[in-house]
Amino acid sequence: MTPVDRDEAIRALRSRRPRNRFARWTGIVLLALTAFAWTRPELELGKLFRQRTKANVTRFLGEVRPYPLQEQPWDGGVFGGWLETTLGDGVGRRAVLGTLALSVAAICLAGLIALLTCLFATRNVAHPEPFLPGASPPTRWRTYAWRVVVWATRLVYIFARAIPEWIWAFLLLTLLGLGAWPAVIALAIHNTGILGRLYAEVIENLPARTPRALRALGASRTQIATVALYPAAQGRFLLYFFYRWETCVREATVLGLLGAAGLGKEILQAGAGDRHDEIVLFVLLGSALIIAGDVVSAVARSVVRRAR
């Protein structure tokens, strides 16, 4: 191949490369918007370069050091004592376990509701003639009625997940009063929206052979679901469940900032007293909890994957 031939061949290959106008325009629009965003005064980037900010940062970094050790040489014993007074008396344990319990209760509630409602969002089960269309032509209003069921369920799911956990919690804390329920329900609402959609997709994508055979034998929707659909979808359901639990742990660490239980509440209280050393300690505890949750979830997911 001469160099000219090669260039020609490369040019020919290049002109035949897969191109996607939609993706390209998305990129161009987002790039332009981002460039514009960085020029906006609303970002207040200038404030970061003021003299006051620099002094503030220095002061903050000094206050992050445990209080009895501030402007003192490092001493392991003093540090241990500080840990003891800050986390002792069950404060640290309650904060961590409270956060963990919040995430577990919320994801169990969300998983349960998603499990019970996801079938209403599937086009194959929520249909006048599930899995065997054409066996007997359904009346028009029955077709429409089922379609309304599917879209209504999906709309509820979308709305539930479009509103962030934090905002649900903020609203529910006022409407329901203090306690753990509002935080649990807030986390559960958002995650029901996500799990419900994912679960419905899993059910829709299952191979149709078994449910079709069952339907031909005259099985009801409930029977098909319990015998064929849920068992076949179980593994995928569990994987999604654990993925969402990881994010639940993450969100649970902050919901306490609204007044619910857990690490967030400790951070709120330490913040109210400007005790930055304690804030950082509780933030690190939360970080450890999240990382531990990720590990537990990864182990559980690999168990689920390997079990057939």
């Binding site: 897969p18 996607n20 939609f22 993706a23 998305t26 990129g27 918007l33 981002t34 965003a37 906006r40 609303e42 970002l43 207040e44 980037l45 404030k47 970061l48 006051r52 900010t53 503030n56 940062v57 903050f60 970094l61 409270g98 319990a101 919040l102 577990v104 209760a105 169990c108 979308i158 479009a162 934090w166 905002i167 903020f170 609203l171 409407l175 329901l176 009063g177 306690g179 329920w181 649990v184 179980q234 469940f241 993450r250 660490t253 902050v254 239980a261 913040g271 804030i279 950082v280 933030v283 939360g286 970080s287 450890a288 999240i290 990382i291 990720d294 168990v303 689920v304 390997r306 079990a307």
Partner: protein
């Protein structure tokens, strides 16, 4: 226990954990039982869903629809700024946290020796930084930055950028590692160097997935940006908080619907994008 099976055990463990959590938090039906106060609040709030406010309920004559538009724009603005910074963090850290750049066929012996030492070191550090960035919630970053930098909207940008950058880095590194290696091997066989193999052989294979994932994270960033409105910036969360505190529930619903619309548009857009790039 064979008849229960491993998955059965996992489900049992979940149920047990759920019962423990409910017991630990004291989740009883009594606290949820609709008393007069709770029911009244609920009915008042949710019935306002059918009459979102267009004009200020406080009688100031302020146009709430316009305010919602402004809040939506600022939500997009901070999500874009945070996400663009997160992408830089994600690409740089993701590169160092992928094993592709320091494993594989070495080019020369001295480089191989050097790489055997610094490779795992840089790799491990990158992984540690990613774990730290990811495991602190953006709201907590925001409160930390507020304490460190003082009041500035820029805090929200950095609060978004750090955890999102960490998450992007983690997923990017996994995608690079899982990208098909055949093109890279072919390039290596033709005498290409490490950087050439990485940028021409490995990266193009992983790029569509990376772009698609980044767009999905942008959707999440929109929601997070709205929430950061509770901490100073004037995104949708800011207005939701203000209107809710004075019980102007109609206004709250206007802002909630604005957020809903924004998320749906992003969701549809990202769905269309995935459909046309990854599936093709």
């Amino acid at each position: 226990m064979r008849h229960v099976g491993r998955r059965g055990l996992v489900i049992l463990a979940i149920a047990g954990a759920g019962v423990w959590a409910a017991w630990y938090l004291g989740l009883g039906p009594a606290e949820l039982w609709p008393n007069k106060n709770r029911l009244g609040n609920f009915v008042e709030f949710f019935s306002a869903a059918f009459s979102p406010a267009v004009e200020s309920q406080g009688g100031s004559g302020q146009n709430i629809a316009l305010q919602a538009l402004r809040g939506t724009w600022l939500t997009v603005l901070f999500a874009l700024a945070g996400m663009s910074l997160a992408l830089v963090v994600g690409v740089v850290l993701g590169f160092f946290a992928s094993s592709a750049w320091w494993t594989g066929d070495p080019a020369s012996r001295s480089w191989r020796r050097l790489r055997r030492v610094i490779g795992p070191l840089i790799f491990g550090t990158a992984r540690l930084v990613i774990a730290l960035l990811r495991s602190v919630h953006e709201i907590i970053w925001a409160t930390l930055f507020l304490a460190a930098f003082g009041l500035s909207n820029a805090n929200a940008v950095f609060a978004l950028a750090l955890p999102y950058g960490g998450t992007l880095a983690k997923i990017f590194s996994e995608m690079i590692d899982e990208a098909p290696r055949s093109a890279g091997h072919a390039l290596r066989g033709a005498g290409a160097g490490g950087a050439q193999v990485f940028f021409l052989g490995l990266l193009p294979g992983a790029l569509p997935d990376m772009a698609s994932y980044a767009f999905y994270r942008f959707e999440c960033a929109l929601r997070a940006s709205a929430v950061l409105g509770f901490f100073g910036v004037e995104t949708l969360g800011h207005f939701i908080k203000q209107s809710f505190k004075v019980h102007y529930y109609g206004e709250v619903w206007t802002y909630l619907y604005a957020l809903f619309a924004l998320v749906i548009v992003a969701d549809l857009w990202s769905g269309a994008l995935r459909h046309r790039t990854v599936a093709a």
